[in-house]
Amino acid sequence: MELNPHNIAATLQVLRDPAGIPSHPAVFQVLMVLTWVFHILFVNIALGSATLSLYGFTRRQEPQWERLSIGMTKAAKVSVSMLIVLGVAPLLFTQVIYDPQWYASNILSASWAIGFIFTLILGYSSWFIFYFKNHQGAKPAIIVWGIVGLAMFVLDGFIMHALSYQALLPEQWMEWYAPDGQVDMSGSTIHAWQAGRFLFFMAMSITVIGVFLKAYAHYYKVREDYAADYRNFVNLLGSKIAIVGLVLQLVTFVWWLLSLPEHLHGFANPMSWIIMVFLAAFALLLIKQADQHHQTSYKPLFYAAIMALLVAIFRELIRIQYMLPYGYDILDYKVMEDLPSTALFFLTFVGVGGLVGGFFLTAIYKAGRTQGVYQASKPVAKLADSAVGVMIVWIAIFFLVGIWVWLKNAL
């Protein structure tokens, strides 16, 4: 038996975890797509703000660019944290329904998967050094730290791209694992990538950082220490960058479609056209508003989130199509319903995510828009009390259930 197209289907089936999954596969699929949207937006913000901060650093003789460079350095620092934490969820859900593809791809390039961890630590540490040093009157040489940081982020983006792409090509796994019949267990090679797809996500970083700048200008509108001139400069710059990004996205998207295997019929997919029309319409909207640099809002950022959602759906649709010839359908994954743990997640998501996350974000948002010390309003104070309350209740239930189950099984 060889891993050829005739038995790839059987192999993919048998590689699935025998424990099955605790809820309907579609639940994991929806969560995977939705959580990936937030992850990719922060990836885009991180890459975009890091690039912009380095460019701004080279023009730091101009006060506006210097201020923007410092601001974007901070934005990149926080965004990398967020992209890591938000990347955990789609990674988790991918492993649930596409475990054969993801695991095989990772093992075949294992050294790169492990290298990803250490290069990300290196890049992020380097970026932190750049952040600590990038202040008014900073020495020119410190840019090296930022360049190393950004280079590592791009490399890590590429590794993730390759691992995701390799997962779509099971017909080539055997050739990669044992070229000419000689088994290679080193995992030292990146076997496949798709330039159009990778560059599309790079171009998306340009768009997203553009609309992020517009949101940034809007957020600081209420702060007197953020002068109108600076905000207008940022807003206008945001529009220009986003327009360039959208045009590049259109070009690279077509490139991506042209690189798809014939049986996927990339141009016949309605989702392809929805994305192209959306990108074009978004660009036209920004071009139309480009001269209104006093007008700021969060709307463009919201549109970018919709764009990311469309891309996420498209990405999942083509994965389904890639897998069709092998009969791999997530809907026939063995389901072993487990209601208590399902309830644990959804109740935690709503209760803790809503109240604790809501409290933290509200505090950050309100304090950031206040000059001086922010005094919590009544609703915010109530939200804080609810956050404390939900944590106490959650931990109490956890221990009550835990002790009951433990005793039941131990006695």
Binding site: N106, F345, F360
Partner: protein, 467 residues
């Protein structure tokens, strides 16, 4: 019965093995994450003191430690967290797959906490002095509880990796039965105790830099008390923890762990107690370099052997005493409709059923025997054994350099075939594959012997030449 084994390709790391790669990343993560959770409680307790006793100067320390945490725990800790997934994925895909599929919703709940924790640490650090103190105090307490919740959720999964302690889960398949296993509460107590100790040690690094001597004294003593409480609680929990371990773990602890581990751990324990007692007695003498050194000692001489031992005593399993470290399923789990892989291996072997065997190895010839033996040996053994002369439990040393094919084959067909060694998986290879593996393992010993003879000859020649 299935005709194909659910085995992935293998990743082979010469000498140290993929297990060490996992161990190194895991140890770094444990250090960073436990420091972070322990520090979150330190912040909550210190800030309560600051608000109650009107000592805003304590907040300066919290800010310093918080920024340090952002770099130390939230760069290294948050990357190595998913990093462990990547490492286990490539080293033990069936192991991580089993855990993911049993505990996906637990992990998803942990992700919710992880997300609010990351937002929380930024809020905590950057909002000091920017929001009113009472609201900030609530924020800090919520952060501490949320951080601890991440530990509550991960410990159940880690304990499941050790064992269930009873038969219930195998029949019910229920996540609750798997999660709240016999080992859980003792393990949780142990980790909670450790988080206080390590946060106390790391906290010293920042406390030593405080300029105000009264504040420095206050904080150093606070850290010392917290650290000591952690150490003593940890000792009690350790005694309980050992009682909850399976028999194979106890045998490995007594007979298989390297001899230096127990004395090293006791020495680190004693050093930690002396360190905290001394810093409580003479807080102003605590220097930053010394605190850094103590943290390094705990990490390298304490945490690394402890984590290694914990991984080792779980052998031969990686999860729930049903997935072997060589990725095969060792038993039926009716509650999850899981069937053991061993009957298929015994009947057809690895070469006929592994989906990633190249066609050239499907039929055994005189020219590919060694290659086929190497393939089977690496798939079945390399997760725990190095195929080189040195490294992780080298096969050559374990077989005492035997070049006798029949002797090795007899071992493969005896104790190993029937699963009679408590810390080794049962590997019921058919006769032909036992022969191939024995030939390959014997060739390793021959190669090592030839190499050492060549080296001896070379060094003798050098001596004779007077070089």
């Amino acid at each position: 019965m299935q005709e194909i084994l659910g085995l992935y390709p293998s990743w082979y790391v010469p000498t140290i093995g993929s297990a060490w790669v996992m161990g190194i990343i895991g140890t770094i993560h444990v250090l960073a994450s436990h420091t972070s959770v322990g520090a979150s409680w330190l912040f909550a307790l210190l800030e309560t003191k600051a608000v109650r006793e009107n000592k805003p100067e304590l907040m300066e320390y919290i800010k310093k430690y918080g920024v340090f945490l952002l770099v130390f725990s939230y760069i290294i800790g948050s990357i190595t967290g998913p990093g462990i997934w990547y490492a286990i994925t490539v080293a033990s895909p069936k192991g991580v797959g089993g855990l993911i599929h049993n505990f996906v919703w637990v992990w998803a709940a942990e992700w919710v906490y992880f997300t609010v924790e990351v937002i929380g640490v930024y809020a905590l650090v950057y909002l000091i002095g920017k929001i009113d103190p009472r609201t900030h105090l609530k924020l800090t307490w919520v952060f501490a509880l949320a951080s601890w919740a991440t530990m509550l959720l991960i410990v159940g999964i880690l304990s499941f990796m050790m064992w269930l302690g009873n038969e219930n889960w195998y029949q019910t398949g229920s996540t609750l039965d798997a999660f709240f296993n016999l080992n859980f509460f003792a393990h949780l107590g142990l980790r909670t105790a450790f988080m206080f100790a390590i946060a106390g040690a790391v906290g010293g690094i920042l406390a030593a830099t405080m300029k105000n001597e009264t504040v420095r004294t206050d904080i150093t003593r606070f850290l010392a008390k917290m650290g000591l409480a952690g150490v003593f609680l940890g000792m009690i929990m350790w005694m309980w923890y050992v009682q909850t371990l399976p028999e194979n773990a106890k045998i490995i602890m007594q007979t298989q762990l390297p001899g230096y581990i127990a004395p090293t751990l006791f020495a680190v324990l004693a050093a930690t107690i002396i360190y905290f007692a001394w810093s409580a007695w003479k807080p102003l003498q605590l220097k930053q370099g010394f605190a850094v050194a103590m943290t390094a000692v705990i990490a390298i001489a304490g945490l690394w052997p402890e984590e290694r031992s914990r991984e080792s005593i779980r052998k031969p399993y990686v999860a729930g005493q049903y997935i072997y470290s060589n990725q095969t399923i060792s038993r039926d789990v009716p509650g999850k409709q899981i069937e053991s892989n061993l009957p298929l291996i015994a009947e057809k072997g690895v070469l006929a059923t592994h989906p990633f065997v190249p066609e050239t190895l499907r039929t055994i010839t005189a020219t590919n025997r060694l290659q086929a033996g190497e393939f089977v040996a690496k798939v079945m053994c390399a997760n725990c054994h190095s195929m080189e002369a040195s490294g992780l439990r080298p096969m050559v040393k374990k077989l005492q350099g035997s070049t006798d094919v029949e002797q090795i084959k007899a071992y493969l067909g005896g104790a190993l075939y029937h699963g009679l060694i408590p810390y080794m998986p049962r590997i019921p290879l058919p006769e032909m594959e036992r022969q191939l593996v024995a030939e390959y393992l014997a060739s390793l010993s021959k190669h090592t012997m030839t190499l050492s003879q060549t080296q001896t000859h070379a060094s003798n020649t050098l001596v004779m030449k007077g070089d």
